[in-house]
């Protein structure tokens, strides 16, 4: 039996007084790739943020268990230290802090040990090559002045360097040109195959999924997970949209 990694049970999530997620349950086993789709405003990012522990999103019911531990009340840094990662839809810019210094600190914090600089630099260079990133980006300020596509690559670079067990990718493919999608997909594939990482991929398109082997597809509508299917669901949604799921969601709400 596959090793259980993440169990989300009946999660209710609110911001201020508005409930955004209603009774979401989700199971992810080690190494699995799950795709999360849904119309704009359905609550996909909200779910990603909540799993990662963003304090703006309050869990008002349910629980999140990661690697056998209830992490519902843990802060984001503790979750990351236990092996979670979130790639942002819009990564932050930090003037004065270089990408390499940021990564180095993150790796130090994660392991609690000094990082061997030489090995770090070598791995950084190799990973940047894989992502077709200019090596000079390592010494540039974190995300400052980078294009949308470059920022996404920088997020995947961090994913590969930090080696989490479970990564949430929030629209990592949106706004990327064809080549960039291919490069970023190759990076994610590397994480998936060579590092055995599990994924929750939030996306609106199928392009990023072409290179990845998908285990499950979930559909989120108005804060409810209304359907779970196999990889074939992605194509189905692409063709027919979310209409039938929206109808199902309305029916579920009535009950």
């Amino acid at each position: 039996m596959a090793e259980q990694l993440l169990q989300v049970r009946n999660l209710n999530v609110s911001v201020e007084d508005t409930e955004l997620l209603h009774g979401v349950s989700l199971d992810v086993n080690a190494g699995e790739t799950h795709v999360l789709m849904g119309p704009n405003g359905a609550g996909k990012s909200t779910l990603g943020y909540t799993l990662m522990g963003n304090p703006a999103y309050h869990v008002t019911g349910g629980s999140i268990v990661f690697d056998g531990e209830d992490i519902t009340g843990l802060s984001a840094d503790k979750r990351a230290q236990r092996g979670m990662f979130l790639s942002f839809q819009t990564p932050l810019e930090v003037p004065g802090l270089t990408l390499s210094a940021f990564l180095l600190s993150a790796m130090r914090q994660k392991t609690g040990k000094p990082v061997k600089i030489f090995a770090f630099q070598k791995e950084l260079e190799e990973t940047m090559r894989l992502l077709h990133m200019d090596p000079s980006f390592a010494e540039r300020d974190l995300n400052v002045g980078l294009s949308g596509g470059e920022k996404k690559k920088a997020e995947i670079l961090q994913l590969l360097m930090l080696r989490p067990k479970f990564a949430i990718l929030d629209e990592t493919d949106s706004g990327l040109d064809v080549d960039a999608v291919r490069t970023v997909s190759a990076g994610i594939e590397e994480y998936q195959k060579k590092r055995g990482g599990a994924l929750l991929v939030i996306t609106h398109s199928t392009r990023i999924l072409e290179a990845l082997s998908v285990d499950y597809t979930h559909v989120l509508v108005k804060g409810r997970l209304v359907y779970t299917g196999g990889p074939e669901l992605v194509d189905d949604i692409n063709e027919h949209g979310f209409e039938r799921f929206e109808a199902a969601s309305a029916a579920e709400k009535k009950q």
Binding site: N54, A56, S75, K78, A80, L92, L97, A106, Q109
Partner: protein, 380 residues
């Protein structure tokens, strides 16, 4: 006796306690203050250093790009008239320094000379010193200079460290000036800058205020010549019961002048900070632009921050912009760092380093940058 410093060039706001700063009980300073030795490295051909008396200093200042006599505008203090060569801390402080009767140090770059290596100017303040140093930096026509001044002392030392720097940039001259303050935690520190810029002159000014207890910094840059440019970056750390009082005035008089000032600070504990940043577009400054941006990271509930941005326009065809971000480390930054396993404390430290780092990296000398790094490690 009190010394009033850092007057705002316009009193229309009239907020209590913000229009100027006060150095209290300065009688002691007056009685005890003396000169102090400084050292200079990297004086290449074309760059000269000597000590001069008051009259010669005055002659040099009087010959600077002329500060046009101005009309007294209603509501505006005639502070520029009080000083023949205007400075940020202002006339009272200037008179205090003049009253000490010290020599002036003169660093001159001959016209057309462009030495590549920076001049390193070092002042070491001994414990319990009460010392003042004043200098004129004169960069000739189309000449260029990189100058790095640093002030240090033993970590626990206290005293008074006063600096007074006047800069003259002739037409087409360029000065890349860095001032790095790494004094002991008990210092009263004053650092005054006045600059007069000719046509096409370019002043780049980096200022790091990292140590000391009570700090007063002022900069007044008179952009007299057309197309003169002024770029400044100040970063400071203020801790414990320390305070910092800052005034920067970009006085844009020539046509098509540019100013760009940024201020990055971190306040810890019960530190206090007042900042006044003025972009002053004068008659004749048509086509000029000015930007100022302030960021203050408040790492304590007890810290006190006051900010007074001001844009004054006597011309229509000018563009002035002010931006600011003041407060605790933003939640979105904390969360972003968190998703990478970095906790709040480490995130704060990294953000402090980042702020200081944006100025440190502009200082073109690896040795000085290293000393800044070890000073920060020692004090944080």
């Amino acid at each position: 006796m009190n010394i009033t410093v850092n007057r705002l060039p316009d009193l229309t706001w009239n907020r209590l306690g913000m229009n100027y700063g006060v150095i209290r009980d300065a009688d002691n300073l007056l009685r005890q203050a003396a000169g102090i030795d400084t050292t200079q490295e990297g004086l290449e051909a074309g760059v000269s250093y000597r000590r001069i008396g008051r009259e010669e200093a005055q002659r040099i200042l009087d010959a600077a790009p002329a500060q046009v006599p101005e009309k007294i505008v209603a509501g505006k203090l005639p502070i520029y008239h009080a000083q023949r060569f205007a400075t940020g801390l202002g006339g009272d402080y200037d008179a205090f320094v003049a009253g000490l009767g010290l020599d002036t140090e003169l660093l001159e770059v001959a016209a057309g000379e462009r030495p590549e290596a920076p001049v390193l100017w070092h002042v070491d303040f001994y414990d319990s010193s009460c010392a003042v140093t004043q200098q004129i930096i004169h960069v000739g026509k189309n000449a260029s200079l990189t100058l790095i001044m640093d002030y240090s002392s033993a970590p626990e030392a206290c005293g008074f460290a006063g600096i007074s720097t006047k800069v003259i940039l002739e037409d087409g001259a360029r000065l890349h000036l860095s001032k790095v303050q790494m004094l002991g935690r008990g210092y009263l520190h004053t650092d005054d800058l006045g600059a007069s810029l000719g046509a096409g002159a370019d002043l780049i000014f980096n200022q790091l205020e990292l140590g000391g207890e009570d700090v007063y910094v002022g900069a007044q840059v008179e952009q007299i010549g057309d197309k003169s440019r002024f770029t400044s970056r100040l970063a400071y750390l203020t801790r414990k019961k320390g305070s910092i009082d800052i005034t920067y005035n970009a006085v844009q008089r020539g046509r098509k002048t540019e100013s760009d000032m940024s201020f990055d600070g971190v306040l810890y504990d019960s530190a206090k900070k007042i900042w006044r940043g003025t972009i002053d577009f004068r008659n004749g400054s048509a086509g000029s632009v000015g930007h100022e941006n302030e960021n203050v990271l408040m790492l304590s509930e007890d810290a006190e921050n006051k900010s007074m941005p001001l844009i004054l326009c006597e011309e229509e065809d000018v563009e002035g912009q002010h931006g600011s971000s003041i407060g605790r480390l933003a939640d979105d930054i904390l969360f972003y760092f968190g998703t990478r396993g970095i906790d709040e404390r480490a995130a704060e430290e990294m953000m402090v380093d980042a702020r200081i780092g944006t100025v440190t990296r502009e200082i073109p000398d690896a040795g000085v940058r290293e000393r800044i790094g070890s000073f920060l490690q020692r004090t944080v």
